[in-house]
Structures are given as C-alpha cells and as structure tokens.
Symmetry: C2
Subunit: 254 residues, 2 copies
Amino acid sequence: MSPYDPSAFPPFAVTVDLVVLTVRHHALCALVVRRGEQPFQGRWALPGGFVREDEDLTTAAARELVEETGLCVAEPGAPTTDPVKGAHLEQLATYGDPRRDPRMRVVSVAHLALAPDLPAPRAGGDANSARWAPVDELLQESEGARDEQSAPLAFDHAQILADGVERARSKIEYSSLATAFCPPEFTVGELRRVYEAVWGVALDPRNFHRKVTGTPGFLVPAGGTTTRQGGRPAQLFRPGGATLLNPPMLRPEV
Amino acid sequence: MSPYDPSAFPPFAVTVDLVVLTVRHHALCALVVRRGEQPFQGRWALPGGFVREDEDLTTAAARELVEETGLCVAEPGAPTTDPVKGAHLEQLATYGDPRRDPRMRVVSVAHLALAPDLPAPRAGGDANSARWAPVDELLQESEGARDEQSAPLAFDHAQILADGVERARSKIEYSSLATAFCPPEFTVGELRRVYEAVWGVALDPRNFHRKVTGTPGFLVPAGGTTTRQGGRPAQLFRPGGATLLNPPMLRPEV
DNA sequence: ACAAAAGTGTTGTAAGTACACCCATGC
DNA sequence: GCATGGGTGTACTTACAACACTTTTGT
C-alpha cells in the first residue's frame, strides 16, 4: 500500500444503501423512498446515505435503518419482545461502477435488513415519502406502459434490490432467518406464510409443520396459543437459538 | 442523497484486497505478500491496492490479480485450456472500520480468487516477496512462541482471509467452484483431493466418484486418461456447464 | 352443521453411508 | 507378484413428498 501522500489515491464518496424487506399481505415487500432531488428526482430509490467520518459501515447502516424506519437491530443473544427491535441486518455487497452516480464517484456498501410487518414507514432524511412496495412490482422489467408507481428504481438500485432478494431467498433455506420476518411470537402457519411469500411458492402445511418443529434449535414453544389466523388454536413459538438449520429447508421446484 | 457539495461527505480511500486460494501439497493455501513499508513493515499481508479513478471494483481486483500472480480471470462461457486463465474471481465483502488502517480512512472491498496450483508466485508492486502459505498457519491464533513465518497478518487481513476461506468452504458445497482449483483437465481423484484439502476431511473415494459423475452438468469427460497419480489410469474430465450443483455435495461431520 | 386452520400417521421414493469387491497400471 | 489408486455393486438408513385423517376453534 502506498504512503501517506493523499495525491496517490483518488478520493471516493462512500454510502450505505439499504434493502429492507418485510412480508405484507402475503407478498415480499421492500422499503423505497421517493427522491427529492436530481438526479432521478421524484423516482423511487432504496434508502441510504453517506458514511460518516468516524463510523463503521455496519453502524452507518444501522443508523440509516433507524432514521428511515425506526427499527433497531436485534441484539445478539438478547431475545426481545419489542417488535421494533427484532430486525436482522447484514452486509450485502458493494457497488462501485464509476458511472453509477452521474455526479461523482460513489461506492455504495449495500446492506440487507429483514423486518417483521410494521404499521407504516416513516419518511426521514431528504426523502419526500416512503412506502412498502412488492418486490415483484419493483423488479419487473419495463414492459409496455408504466405508471409512476412501478417506474424503475433510481441508480443501480434495481440490481441491488434483486441481489438482496436473492440473498434472502437462499438464506432462509439454511438459516433460521425467516423468523426475522415474524413478530416475537408466531405460529408455524405464520412462519410458513413467510416462506411462501419469499419464495413465491405453496408449501404443504402438514410437512412444513413436521419439518420446522423437528429441526433442532429452530423453534421453541412460547407457551401460549392464538387463533388470530382463524381455525383451531395454534401453538405460539419463539426463535430457538440455532442460526444454521440442519437439515435445511428445501425450496421446491428444482 | 446530498447535492454536489464535496464538503457534505468525507473522502475515503478505496482499495481492493485479494484472498487468492489454491491447493498445494494437499493443503489449502493463500497468497500473501511481504509488506515493504510501514505500518506492519516486514509482515505478511493480502495482496491489494487502490482502486483507480475510472475503474470498476471487479476490474481493479482483476488487475491486481494479474499484477500479483499473472493469473487471468476465466471468461464466462469460453472454456480455456490455458491454465493461467482459469481463475475464478468474485466479490467477498467490504471492510471499513475507521481504525483498520492507522494512516487514513480506507474502505477495502475484498475479493475472493480461486486458482489451480501454480508454479510460483511472482512478486509485484511494492511487495518485497510473495509466497503461498497454508491457511491453517496463517489463521491459527497466536499461541506460544511464533516465528516470523507464522506471524499474524497485517491490518484486519486475518479476518478477511477467514471470511474468504469460509466462503470457499461453503460455496464448493452447492456450486461447481471446486473445479476452479483444478487444471483444465483433471481426474475425479484430483477433484476429491481438492474437497478434502478445502474442507480438511477425508472423503470416501467410491461414493465421491459416484456422486460427482452422477451430478448432471458438473463434469464432462475430456476423452483421455492419465496415470499421473499412479495406479490405474483415470478418466480425464472438464468442468461441465453447470454452476449450481443439484444435489449439492455434502460436507461431513455436521 | 360447516368452514377453516392445526396437527398426526403412513407409505413410497430419492439420496446418503458404509462397506465388499473388482480393474488396470507401475515397479 | 504387490502396491496404488480407479471404479462398480449392494445393503442399510435417513429424509422428503404426497395425501388420508383427526382435532379444535369461529360462525
């Protein structure tokens, strides 16, 4: 690595962008904010912002997450019943094409956040508004007439979102991450509907039940029952300690 | 995102660091270079360097790879018999702790490269020398007396290397990536020794053979045989088109 | 009574493990 | 001959898909 001479390296702006996913109305949705400025003024974009001078990348992402949604990241090992603290956050990938931002050289470290269904997004920062949008709408290629709601995302955010969705889809296979989409206590049926929404498939409720309750460390009984989904009362569960599932959940249609 | 005002964001240096892995003498090895300058002068470090003004991150990583090893990245879809062009390169993760470099704020986009066994590394850039070192030596915690060879890596490179090794270990499970450690044509036994070295386990040769030859798209017969490993002549194979393995290879001891 | 969702039992099948066993070369 | 690695056959076991069936609520 070169010495201290600042002229030896070009300066970059470094940002964090967030792919915040949740499951609403049986569909996988992402948080998008409307851009208030050029370029891409008025278009939807992923939330994000500059990394500060003395801030770690993960810290910057967690800060943006709070500013945009009020969500706090779950403390490892400290199970909480506060639905606003159950979020999962991890680094996704870094995007640094020289022309991805027309104004200057920006390297964006994208992060992936998974959250339970929240009442409503709160707009923050320099965004005019924010909303949860089904990822299917956001990612469908421009075909035929397009209304403003489903216009393509700003910058390279469609690519970032696609990468985040793909990460989530594959990661719930072999980890217990799907519980990050659920409230602190949930039923097996609710967990199944998360898998169905994220993967976009229908799962056999009977086999699913046997599988998740039989995977060690995935779920622990919370003690109560609920009928909030109708039908026979269902046992409530909390996430077990396990992070890696053995055996993994299998995504159909291979 | 904020307007053009450069005072609105702090400037960062952006580098790429490379985790270059290969299998030599039945052990997983990483390429390390000796640092010629402060800080960490004389210590081993991962190869890397600054991203240039108009350069994509992947381009920068590929350029560093050529400079340090002479390896070229494999062209997708263009199978080559040149052993120096078969390398696999992918982004690994980004490291941006404010204090990871004592001189200035550096964000490093680490990349993972997999290469077949090469004759010898060639030192390049500002490194005094370069060598292949077994990852077990590089990653073992400081315990007891340590010679210079096994001194811990500079900066946060031990963490980066550990992340790269873990990525490689898990990715050869469900992808055909293990062939990137092999020469253009190889035997089933050579491929098995790759898995054994990367995972650090012993595999049953009989079941392994059945499995890899039975996984569609993993291997295609190259037509010849070889006795370079001794014993009965073995069929030579080339990588098949498949990138994702179905069913996946299973890592023992879970 | 009926619909709806939860949960259990059973059966066929795909895939993995652990071996015994045979094959083709170099020395 | 014998050592060495390559390759096939087979029995045992696990895990998954499919689907019949029972349970417990709300209306």
